[in-house]
Symmetry: C2
Subunit: 327 residues, 2 copies
């Protein structure tokens, strides 16, 4: 099997934890390094959570680097404890891994992995884009040195989640997001338009809880907290699988049914649109076409039953291909 | 029959011409005055077009006032001749009406009509909102003096039409739009989300062309120009009925199936979101609820077959109620 070199940038985070577990369960993924950034929680806590999760998952060999604590234009302001719990992972206490983070920063790790991967590195960013923006400063040729950048973030034609139009990962650091989304590398943007359509429901959570795999049981426990947050949004306990879906798209495990390449910028003004991913989707009415020169694919629809695939991946030893969505 | 006092503010404009013809065909509408504003064309040309159309429609008794030529924060920059033709009405030459506009401005007319209507005046704005903003300056108590304000404009979860996120009426004068949409009066906002779903197709246009009513024939002729513009957008000759739909909603002839009252502001920054109607539709996922204190209803869906209703209204003497949409 050809392996796919991966650098993951995360702010672990409950759905980051699921994304990490999903990623480590994919036999084709060759995870060369993980960087953390502030977002759901601070970058140091995110690194601790990541190390502990990797230990639980039996992958103590993957290096973890701490990334930026503050955003490009603003200090970190405390994360989202109402969503992810005070410790970022829903209050669940993990057994502490007996190793430490790398000496290099997340941005340095990304640059060195890109240099060592001959254009094959898949960058997956499921937190604010501060580390990626710093890496672009460190190595301006970086956009030509990677396979692709998949970003969970933004809202195209869907409502935002932290303002009417802005999604949390982008809103946390709009300046970084603008730099990353317009850097010219091939980006898969995985916005709320598609992630809010893939919900892990209580029966999925039950299957994780009842799994013989300890990691699945731990994830089910974290999801209890996450489900409560989403009760206000969906009217029932469930949760969007933002970050795991981005990982699946990055690896090609899930194929987008609609993902036009269109101009995308991030609103870095101080107006009411600050943090919005402004995606030019005016082609909607006659079927989207890729726009000449655009480098960002905006993933609008995925037809696979992703949450079934995710649940299988987390509860069974072997990987399963996603099945088509029910009609 | 109870009549509904109406003030119409328009930038005539091809779909304004259809809206005007539709409005004058509704027996319950008591059109007390019409003001013009720059937008599709300049306010003076819009007034000339309006006078000539009223003559054609046999309604030479409705006073017309010229409104603002320039926008609050920018000069008028030439309108949209590529959409509406150089004369605003697709190059069609109308017989000149033998009367002139009123001496008062559109804003003055709106204020005096509101004062004389004891809270019953329906304000319908189908162009940029400059005149309404000026009227709010002239009479700060205006929001408490009218029945409602129905605005064709904006894009909530739909793409914009002049930028990725901004619609033309709002983008022409974002400062005026912000003042109008946040003034506290009851607003029906009729954005592209709903207007782009109601298309006049070639068979409708043929019925107008073959009607015995001269005004219908003239409107069919204008639509030839408008259809060509929309060919790039929909991939066929047809056109959205933005302005007529707003008139129908204002009169209650068409009832919105989804129109939540939510916070709405207009982006008046200089960022990429300038001119966007930022509507807080985060309630989408569990069914919209009206938000406490919100005064702006955002019309998202209308289930009537509006373009059939419109075509009947313009071709038959008697008014017809819209039929339910086909399943």
């Amino acid at each position: 099997m050809d392996t796919l070199p991966v650098y993951l940038d995360c702010d672990t985070g409950i759905d980051d934890a699921l994304a990490l577990a999903y990623l480590m369960a994919q036999p084709e993924a060759d995870v060369r390094g993980i960087g953390t950034v502030s977002g759901n929680t601070d970058s140091g806590t995110a690194a601790r959570n990541t190390l502990d999760l990797l230990a639980l998952l039996g992958h103590d060999d993957v290096p973890v680097a701490v990334g930026e604590h503050d955003f490009l234009a603003a200090p970190y302001a405390g994360g989202a404890p109402h969503v992810h719990g005070a410790n970022g992972i829903g209050g669940v206490q993990l057994a502490p891994a007996d190793r430490q983070v790398e000496a290099e920063s997340a941005a340095e790790m990304l640059v060195s992995l890109a240099r060592a991967s001959a254009g094959t590195l898949r960058v997956i960013a499921i937190g604010p884009l501060t580390n990626l923006a710093r890496a672009l400063e460190l190595e301006p040729r970086l956009p030509g040195m990677v396979h692709s950048v998949t970003v969970m973030g933004g809202a195209a034609l869907a409502p935002g989640n932290v303002t009417a139009v802005a999604e949390a990962n982008i809103a946390n650091d709009p300046e970084a997001a603008h730099a990353v989304l317009t850097a010219g590398w091939p980006v898969n943007l995985v916005p709320l338009d598609v992630t809010m359509a893939h919900l892990l429901e209580e029966p999925h959570r039950q299957r994780l809880a009842e799994s013989e795999r300890p990691a699945a049981q731990v994830l089910a426990s974290m999801l209890g907290h996450y489900f409560e947050f989403y009760r206000d949004i969906f009217g029932r306990g469930c949760s969007a699988m933002h970050d795991p879906l981005a990982v699946a798209i990055a690896l090609g495990s899930v194929v987008a049914e609609s993902a036009p390449r269109v101009p995308v910028v991030v609103d870095t003004s101080d107006g009411p649109g600050r943090g919005q991913t402004v995606c030019d989707l005016r082609g909607k009415y006659r079927g989207y076409e890729d726009r000449r020169g655009a480098t960002c694919r905006v993933v609008l629809r995925v037809d696979a039953d992703f949450c079934e695939h995710l649940t299988l991946s987390l509860t069974e030893p072997a990987t399963s291909a996603p099945s088509p969505a029910a009609a």
